[in-house]
Amino acid sequence: MTRFIIQRTAQMVVVLFCISIFTFLIFQVIPNGNPALRLAGQAATPQTIAAIERQWGFDKPIYVQYLDTMQKILTGSVISYSQQINVLDQIKRGLPATISLAGGAAVIWLLFGMALGTLSALRAGRFSDRVLAVLSLVGISMPSFVVATVALYLLAYKVHVFPLSGYVSLAQDPWQWFLHLVLPWFSLSIIYVGFYSRVLRSNMLDTLAEDYVRTATAKGLSRRRVIVGHVLRASLIPLMSLWGLDFAGVIGGGAILVEVVFNLNGVGQYAAESIQTLDVPPILVIVMYGAFLVVVLSAMIDVLYVVLDPRVRLTA
């Protein structure tokens, strides 16, 4: 076990290192124009450009630039091109909105996915199962930003059920916080609900055919206890690892589209605005943090998986 954890951690560190290089190279090696030219503005003399290049370190060799950038990212002192403000402060400001959005949506898609998946597994082959199968296919065909715009138009503009957009912090007004997030939560969840219900359905159908389920029924357990205590419990393990990764993916950047539509001012929207102004440092930092989060969480899930399911072979 300890050996497995050490192996997995070492592997994680290697991947993290490679990701940091890869992300850095995306913005460096690919010819994307001299950032000094954009920083200097239009009426810049060659002297100003040279001065800016020196000041920002664009004239240094690439590996020095990489080390500088990594040092700045790890100490949180990256400065953006456009307004020259600290990127980490901006990210911290957007974090509550992003976490509220991702956390709420993750709970919603897990609960709905579990309910619908269980229902269609227990009714497998019947009419309600087929209806749910079609609905889940519709769900996975709808990109979050299309759902978000339609929901915004119908439920906030046409019928004033929900506020139009924006984010209200939880500490300020919990009820408004909730109201402002209902539409974003569901817009973000729909695609995952469709996906999770299908995954759980096939997992449960496999588990239902297991011998120990028949044993549980044979020893006189009620159907409800067999389903909840044995079938659902065993089927949920693979789903939970999927859930952790998707949650990390959403926090690390998947929520970007919904944040933009609902103007939530989260981390994702900050990234989107930086794309519009071609401001590279915030995009670089957000992409790197997002990927880091996925890698670290997936390592943690692997370890947890072994704890939960002793049958898993211990090789990294």
């Binding site: 990701i19 998707d246 998947g254 589209l257 992409v287």
Partner: protein
């Protein structure tokens, strides 16, 4: 799936006890012995009305988008990038500004001209919808082709050679896989849209549609390569591989002639999944400004430019959004039917 034909006749229940039982007498579900895998699948797919209907829907959308120049030239009589801010049109006998003095474009006229209304530049939304569809679908197909070629090749090589090559490829795939798909697309898309791409003599402009196609194809490679690798690991231990090796076949020949055909079901099942995913990712990236660049239109860019006018001119978002969902739904339902027909127990899906 297929009945084991080598099963001795004695072990089968005898019908009437006279003469050996013919295998044709046993029908397990719809598995008829002597029929090939793909003919069986085609037979099952033919019976799946829903899948065929949605497949047809997708084909109709593709044909409509291919006919975009015809619609533009002969019916709407306006090009996809022709601005008409000051023009007027006649709707039910009234003369209406294409774009009102307040900057609000005309809504759907349900006539040949401006069928779905105009956008803020006075461009015909229906014409742009079809031209945008060409871009979106072309990117979807190109990206899927790139993903399948590289994903299958990487999975095949990693699973077959194992060892150091596998370790290197697996780490590379892990790295791509670790990025949330939208985020990686955004990062590469922004970078490439700024400067274009130069590979040796080949130069691609920053606003070419090949850039989103390449990067979307790239992003999905691990989602295909990982499952393929797993299958190859199992297949390479099979007797027929030993037999081929015994006959003196080289590694490449074994991979291409012996193992690849056994992966065909998986590959066929993956194609619609990747096409649907690629169309969705293209729309998401274009919506964020990191995908298709102007003057090209795509469903994603149309939604993006229509969003600020959602309250006054909802058609600018609802029309391309609806088309996007219909196209992806068509691919998904048809792909589901193909999967059920080819391999009902298959667990293939696109996701982490």
């Amino acid at each position: 799936m297929a009945i084991n034909q080598s099963q001795p006749a004695e072990r089968l229940p005898r019908a009437g006890g006279v003469g050996p039982l013919l295998l044709d007498d046993i029908v397990v579900d719809d598995v008829v012995p002597g029929i090939g895998h793909y003919r069986l699948a085609a037979r099952r797919l033919r019976r799946d009305r829903t899948a065929l209907l949605f497949g047809l829907l997708f084909i109709l959308i593709v044909v409509a988008c291919l006919l975009a120049p015809v619609y533009s030239h002969d019916i709407a009589r306006i090009g996809p990038n022709v601005n008409n801010v000051t023009g007027t049109i006649k709707v039910d006998g009234h003369t209406v500004d294409v774009v009102s003095p307040d900057g609000i474009p005309v809504g759907p006229t349900w006539h040949a001209r401006y069928f779905f209304g105009a956008d803020t530049n006075g461009r015909d939304v229906a014409v742009r919808l079809l031209y945008g569809g060409r871009t979106s679908l072309a990117i979807g197909f190109m990206a899927a082709a790139i993903t399948m070629i590289f994903g299958v090749a990487a999975g095949l090589a990693a699973g077959f050679y194992r060892g150091a090559l596998d370790a290197v490829l697996a780490r590379l795939l892990d790295i791509i896989w670790a990025y949330p798909a939208v985020l990686l697309g955004v990062a590469i898309g922004t970078s490439l849209a700024l400067g274009g791409l130069k590979i040796g003599p080949l130069t691609i402009e920053g606003n070419s549609i090949f850039i989103p196609a390449f990067l979307i194809g790239f992003v999905y490679i691990p989602y295909v390569a990982k499952p393929i690798r797993g299958q190859v690991l199992a297949l390479r231990e099979k007797e027929f591989v030993d037999a081929a090796r015994g006959l003196g076949c080289g590694s490449v020949r074994i991979m291409v002639r012996e193992i690849l055909p056994n992966l065909s079901s998986t590959i066929v099942v993956f194609v619609p999944l990747i096409v649907a995913g690629a169309i969705l990712l293209e729309a998401s990236l274009s919506f964020l400004g990191a995908g298709v660049q102007p003057p090209n239109a795509s469903w994603g860019t149309m939604i993006q430019s229509g969003l600020p006018l959602l309250t006054t001119s909802p058609q600018l978002v609802l029309v391309p959004g609806g088309m996007l969902v219909l196209a992806v739904l068509g691919v998904n339902v048809f792909g589901e039917g193909v999967r059920d027909a080819l391999d009902p127990k298959s667990q293939i899906r696109l996701g982490r």
